[in-house]
């Protein structure tokens, strides 16, 4: 069989399958009207710690919404595909969601890489896409149909610098991971440092698989007039940095990023984590929030529901998926329709929405709608998070 015949045969078969699927779709549609929403997540692969809780969250809440009568009298149908963290695969799957599954909106894209690979497709198809990834490039410049729910790394830098400013610290040493997250956050921190009167007196890096950062930290310790150290990065690197930092007896405050905002960081770094500060979502300290905190209800409800259903600790990443789905459902209710363009317009008008990441106020130039109050500054004390007042 020549390549062409093979391709034709494959095309014909997939067309048949598509027709068959379409036919079944129609029969199902007659039984109960359905709104199809799609999701491409990194459920397996290196970013599975993002995609896995996102997937669990979406499935759980779509079931709940349907049990309560759906949206605008119609049931939601959620179609989830696994990109395995691969941008090429994400693009293929997004094409399938748009062309074969004919979704009206998408909540997904666990990483900045997979999100950016899918953005052009949703722009062309004019279907709203709420991303769950952190990178600021997703919403800057603004793409009409693209939104995102998590904080950006620039906000994390600003939150940290704000806290340093309040403590009168201005001479800062940076030690960043060279992975995507650390590199991007390092760049953002260097950009905004000046606005907060912060001077970067040392700028070191380490590789994602490095196991010893004492040489870099020794150089930082030797920097003239060092007052604080900030470590953008995630994975095991920050835990080793924290241990090495304690080993070298460096006496200035150490700040970590929101990339390590999980219990496993405290476990890995052990006693060395005492006194480390980091910006994080309110979800981590749900039960410690004061009762009059407007966010308390949302985060406690989500945490309780997730932990009861899946019997594992809640993560901020699943929270991003919760926010994305709820913003979408809220928009569909306000629009009173499942037309993609109407949904898009309604998402852009979201104001005063309280999610796990904070209060969301979207506008035509801000497709994230969070401000710095969304982050809480936490300090690790006695092996647990405490809120810095």
């Amino acid at each position: 069989m020549s390549l062409m015949t093979f391709l034709k045969a494959t095309a014909a078969t997939s067309a048949l399958v598509a027709v068959a699927a379409f036919a079944t779709g129609l029969t199902a549609g007659e039984a109960a009207a359905q709104i199809r929403i799609g999701s491409v997540l990194s459920i397996t692969g290196p970013a599975s710690f993002l995609g896995d809780p996102e997937d669990k969250t979406l499935r759980m809440y779509v079931d709940r919404i349907n049990a309560e009568g759906g949206v605008n009298g119609e049931q939601l149908e959620l179609i989830v595909y696994d990109s395995e963290g691969d941008a090429n695969k994400a693009r293929t799957l997004a094409t399938r969601l748009i062309e074969d599954d004919e979704i009206v909106a998408m909540v997904g894209g666990s990483t900045t890489g997979t999100t950016m690979a899918m953005v052009p497709l949703f722009e062309d198809a004019e279907i709203p896409f709420i991303s769950l990834a952190g990178g600021i490039v997703i919403i800057e410049p603004v793409n009409p149909f693209v939104f995102k729910t998590p904080h950006t790394d620039r906000m994390a830098c600003e939150k940290v610098f704000e806290d340093m400013q309040a403590r009168g610290l201005s001479r800062v040493g940076l030690i960043s991971g060279t992975g995507g997250f650390g590199k991007s956050m390092r760049g953002q921190c260097l950009n905004v440092a000046e606005a907060y009167g912060i001077e970067i007196v040392a700028d070191e890096t380490y590789g994602p698989r490095d196991t010893d950062m004492t040489p870099q930290l020794t150089n930082i310790r030797n920097a003239q007039g060092l007052q604080a150290v900030l470590n953008p990065g995630f994975g095991q690197g920050p835990a080793i940095v924290t241990k090495n930092f304690a080993q070298l007896g460096i006496e200035v405050p150490l700040y970590q990023s929101h990339g390590v905002a999980s219990k496993s960081f405290i476990e890995l770094a052990g006693a060395a984590a005492e006194g480390v500060r980091l910006p994080a979502s309110a979800l981590l300290v749900a039960n410690q929030l004061p009762d009059d905190d407007p966010q308390k209800q949302v985060v406690v409800d989500y945490k309780t529901a997730f932990e009861a259903e899946w019997n594992r600790p809640v993560s901020t990443f699943g929270g991003h998926a919760y926010d994305g789905l709820m913003i979408l459902v809220d928009a569909m209710r306000r629009a009173g329709s499942a037309d993609p363009v109407a949904i898009r317009d309604a998402i852009e008008e979201t104001t005063g929405f309280m999610g796990t990441a904070g209060e969301v106020n979207m506008s035509p130039d801000d497709h994230m709608g969070l401000d710095l109050t969304a982050f809480r500054m936490l300090e690790i004390r006695d092996g647990d998070w405490t809120i810095v007042q």
Partner: protein, 290 residues
């Protein structure tokens, strides 16, 4: 001065681990001419097994011993199930088999254990020791001391015991060894078990410092291999010196040049040495028979 000392301590600690991994390469290479790329996985298994055995309720020392035993058994199984059936194959095929085995072991660890990072408590506390202004954790001493003990024990085993000598004899000439009555199969089996055991030991010693996860072995295998090549493949002394040199080069590179280039610094040194001494620092000088 104290900065230099700090870099040196850092390099020696990391280098000691590379040296043990390189020794593991050397033992198997000597006995079977195979470069065993699953060597890093032995280190990972040592750490991960100890972590999980102690999570399952075993006291730490027992968990560590059990981890060494389990890892040696896996080393033996690797020889029995993957290397021995392909005995007639050429060396390249055997090396590819070990690469396959390393991928398999990594996958297995992901399924049996998990994909998270894990730590072990330091053996004797975390209070740093001050040496001339530089600091050292007690665990670093454990790593360096452990490496030294392993080297001495191996040296004694290979030069003072009959069985150790029979391994050396097999490495020099397998046919002649068989003719004088050495059980070559047993020698191969022992070398895999031994190599896995010291790998596991390295993994246990270093996990409190570096943490471990299912894929922690990949980079260690690469660095250990580079160390073995630098020292001269097949020479135990070379493996130790090579490991320490690579570790120190990395630490000095990260400290004095740029942390971006620390891996490059180590590999540039290796390339430089191999240009001048193609068989490594202590390698057998190759003689081609024409």
């Amino acid at each position: 001065m104290e900065t230099f000392l700090q870099f040196l301590f850092s390099g020696l600690t990391v280098g000691a681990v590379y040296a043990i991994v390189a020794l593991g390469f050397t033992i198997i290479y000597n006995a079977s001419d195979v470069i065993n790329f699953a060597q890093g996985e032995f280190v990972m298994l040592g750490g991960m097994c100890t972590v999980f055995f102690s999570l399952w309720g075993l006291p730490l020392p027992v968990a560590a011993v059990a981890a060494v035993i389990v890892t040696s058994l896996i080393g033996v199984a690797l020889n029995k199930l993957a290397i021995e059936p392909a005995r007639g194959a050429n060396v390249v095929t055997l090396i590819i088999i070990t690469i396959g085995a390393s991928i398999f072991l990594r996958g297995l660890a992901q399924v049996v254990f998990d994909k998270q990072f894990h730590r072990l408590p330091s053996f004797s506390g975390d209070a740093p020791i001050d040496v001339l202004g530089a600091t050292l954790t007690p665990q670093s001493l454990w790593v360096m001391g452990g490496a030294a003990v392993i080297v001495v024990v191996l040296w004694y085993f290979f030069t003072r015991t009959t069985f150790g000598k029979s391994i050396l004899a097999t490495s020099h000439n397998r046919l002649a060894a068989r003719l004088v009555g050495i059980n070559v199969e047993l020698v191969l089996l022992t070398s895999f078990a031994l190599s896995a055991a010291i790998g596991a030991l390295a993994g246990i010693l270093v996990t409190p410092i570096t943490l471990t996860s299912f894929d922690a072995g990949t980079m260690l295998a690469l660095k250990g291999f580079a160390a073995a090549i630098l020292g001269g493949m097949g020479n135990p002394l070379g493996a130790v010196v090579g490991g320490l040199l690579v570790g120190i080069a990395e630490a000095m590179g990260a400290g004095y040049l740029s942390s971006e280039y620390k891996d490059a610094v180590a590999f540039v040194i290796i390339l430089g040495v191999l240009f001048v001494l193609p068989s490594g620092l202590f390698g057998r000088r190759g003689t081609e028979r024409v």
